[in-house]
């Protein structure tokens, strides 16, 4: 397990996101959560590229599978590390954004896909938070089915958690 994997695991742990990779939705939630955590200022050093479901890092999938495959010995290794206080507090503050009570896995994956995708479009200056209609059109062009109202809500949530000013 390298330092990047340790940082990934500890950041997800602080945000109470499971490091589970068994199903597609679990892997999608993991990817989008890691993207949002990094955008919130926890620099894990991952590079995200645009894939069919929005920002995605092959290294995160590889890193997560590596950790899971290490099983008990991996858990023992992670026990020896703690996340710095500032990152830990930031991850904790993002927890309500990354999971909501009584939300199904499918709904959660869809919501995180929207949040991460819109934020990626804003950060790469392909869309503007002030233009939800335009943002929705770009998402549609990329085969995503999110309404203007959903985009508006996503912008509101991103702002509320300090991911957009």
């Amino acid at each position: 397990m390298d330092r990047q994997q340790i940082l990934l695991a500890k950041s997800l742990e602080a945000a109470k996101v499971s490091l589970s990779v068994n199903t597609f939705n679990e892997r999608l939630i993991l990817q989008k959560s890691a993207y949002l955590l990094q955008a919130a200022g926890i620099n894990m050093g991952y590079r995200f590229q645009w894939y069919i479901r929005g920002p995605y890092s092959p290294d995160i999938t590889a890193g997560a599978f590596g950790i899971v495959n290490e099983g008990e010995s991996g858990k023992n290794e992670l026990e020896k590390w703690k996340l710095d206080n500032k990152s830990s507090a930031r991850a904790h503050s993002l927890q309500p954004l990354l999971s909501k009570e009584s939300e199904s896995m499918t709904d959660r994956a869809r919501r995180l896909e929207l949040l991460a995708s819109t934020l990626f479009l804003f950060k790469t200056e392909q869309a503007k938070p002030s233009d939800p209609e335009g943002t929705s059109k770009i998402l549609e062009k990329n085969n995503k089915d999110f309404s203007i109202n959903e985009v508006k809500l996503a912008v509101k949530e991103l702002k509320a958690h300090g991911l957009l000013t």
Partner: protein
């Protein structure tokens, strides 16, 4: 290539691909100071310390990738790609490595280096920080360079075009998935060139892939998936296996890897030391500043070499000095022990992990016993090598259960009677499918030293050898 403006008019002779023809616009890009910098970045890092002829550069490799892209485009003659798309793809191939660091990946991932004193077993909890401003990846840096270097912006036409090309090779925009698939498929042009080029330069046969057969049998499906015909399955498997052989024989050669690890650890120590702040970039902001201005021209292998030479005379830090001196004098770090071979991906206690743990537990005592410092040991190993870029991350069953978007980077094969290609890990009887539960792992322990008596060194090796034995 409809207009006369886009007609190739310049030819470069390359030892791998022969004639490489470029248009006037492409020639203008090549003849910028920003692109010419690639002549001063060795493709194989410190490989030349073992294979003396392996001094080829990112410049030649970039032209090679460009040539392969041209051949793919000629072969596909895709109606889905207009003249402008094709021109963009040619530029993206030519410029895909424009953001590479000195000594390539060696400097880029300095943040991931773990020093021996951080590895050894300790009862205290260690803190890992998510607040460091790390170096950006070379693809991101490439995009930054294209948008900020005037010469290349002008050669490409304007900043918008430069931005578009940068977005294409760094995959930072999702506006044209068709183009993205072409440049980022697992059968990517980058690997097709570097395996051949590196093998020829090193003088080894392991990367001699069947490039012509692969390119002659490449196809694109109606949905835009790139793959090879079934008859080229052997060539595709050979390509994937070649990559593993090249890692074993060249990229992770014990001496090359030892030198590179010594350099990585040296750079990590230098970066963390205040004495080198004017000589070596401390963080990502400084790297971006270098790459956004005229300093970029000196951001070559010489940039790292000057740090090494300075560090070799640094009497205030014996560890920095000893690491630098081994590079200056080509005194390889001594390999004390290693675990090297195939491991089951699902094995939670593979031999490499046991060896690493034994090293962590025993290094302090070993250092004390022989009058060495823990910092002189390099406990290291590359990421496990995969037979297939994505498939090997998963168990075979899991790989077969991937969603289409997760399969994008798997090599695909057009089986008879199927319109869309299948991932190579799904094809019954394929060698890659059989090997998809394995990864090639390496874990090593080196010692950097100046003048240890041979008998003492042998005693240390004997002790470390015991750590390589699996537990009963």
């Amino acid at each position: 290539m409809a207009s006369s403006r886009n007609k190739p008019t310049r030819v470069v002779n390359d030892n791998i691909h022969g004639d490489i023809a470029l248009t006037n616009d492409e020639w203008k890009v090549v003849n910028t100071a920003t692109f010419q910098r690639l002549r001063s970045l060795k493709q194989l890092g410190m490989g030349h310390l073992v294979y003396p002829n392996a001094t080829h550069t990112r410049f030649a490799h970039s032209l090679g990738v460009f040539r392969i892209m041209c051949r793919v485009l000629e072969k596909l003659q895709s109606k889905q790609l207009n003249v402008e798309d094709q021109a963009d793809l040619r530029f993206a191939a030519l410029l895909h490595d424009i953001g590479h660091y000195p000594y390539s990946h060696l400097m880029e991932r300095v943040a991931n280096v773990t020093l021996a004193e951080e590895e050894i077993t300790n009862s205290d909890k260690k803190t890992i920080s998510g607040q460091k401003n790390e170096y950006p990846y070379h693809e991101e840096l490439g995009r930054h360079i294209l948008e900020s270097q005037t010469d290349i912006c002008e050669a490409l036409g304007d900043r918008d075009r430069a931005r578009k090309i940068g977005a294409l090779f760094s995959r930072s925009e999702g506006t044209n998935q068709q183009l993205s698939k072409l440049i980022h498929s697992s059968l990517d042009m980058d690997r097709l060139d570097y395996l051949l080029r590196d093998a020829r330069a090193a003088g080894v046969p392991y990367g001699e892939i069947d490039l012509n057969y692969l390119l002659n049998n490449i196809r694109i499906s109606r949905k835009g998936m790139l793959g090879v015909d079934e008859k080229a399955l052997a060539a595709a498997e050979h390509f994937l296996l070649s990559r593993v052989f090249m890692h074993r024989a060249v990229y992770y050669h014990k001496t090359t890897f030892g030198f590179e690890e010594a350099c990585r650890q040296l750079l990590r120590r230098v970066r963390d030391s205040n004495r080198y702040k004017n000589l070596f970039a401390k963080d990502g902001d400084r790297i971006r500043k270098i790459c956004g201005g005229l300093e970029l021209r000196g951001f070559t292998d010489d940039y790292v070499d000057s740090v090494i030479y300075e560090a070799a005379t640094d009497e205030s830090d014996p560890i920095i000095q000893i690491l630098a001196s081994c590079l200056v004098a080509r005194r390889p770090p001594r390999l004390l022990g290693e675990i090297c071979g195939l491991e089951e991906k699902t094995n939670q206690y593979p031999p490499s992990m046991f060896f690493k743990q034994k090293c962590r537990d025993g290094l302090r005592a070993l250092a004390n016993k022989y009058g060495l410092q823990v910092e002189q040991f390099l406990l290291c190993g590359p990421k496990p090598i995969k037979f297939e870029e994505r498939g090997s991350l998963f168990s075979r069953a899991a790989a077969e259960d991937l969603k289409p978007e997760e399969r994008e980077e798997l090599i695909k094969v057009f089986l008879k009677g199927h319109g869309e290609p299948q991932s190579i890990v799904d094809i019954g009887g394929s060698i890659i499918k059989s090997l998809s539960n394995q990864v090639f792992s390496i874990q090593r322990l080196y010692l950097v030293e100046s003048n240890l008596e041979p008998e003492k060194l042998q005693q240390i090796k004997n002790e470390v050898f015991e750590w390589t034995k699996p537990p009963n």
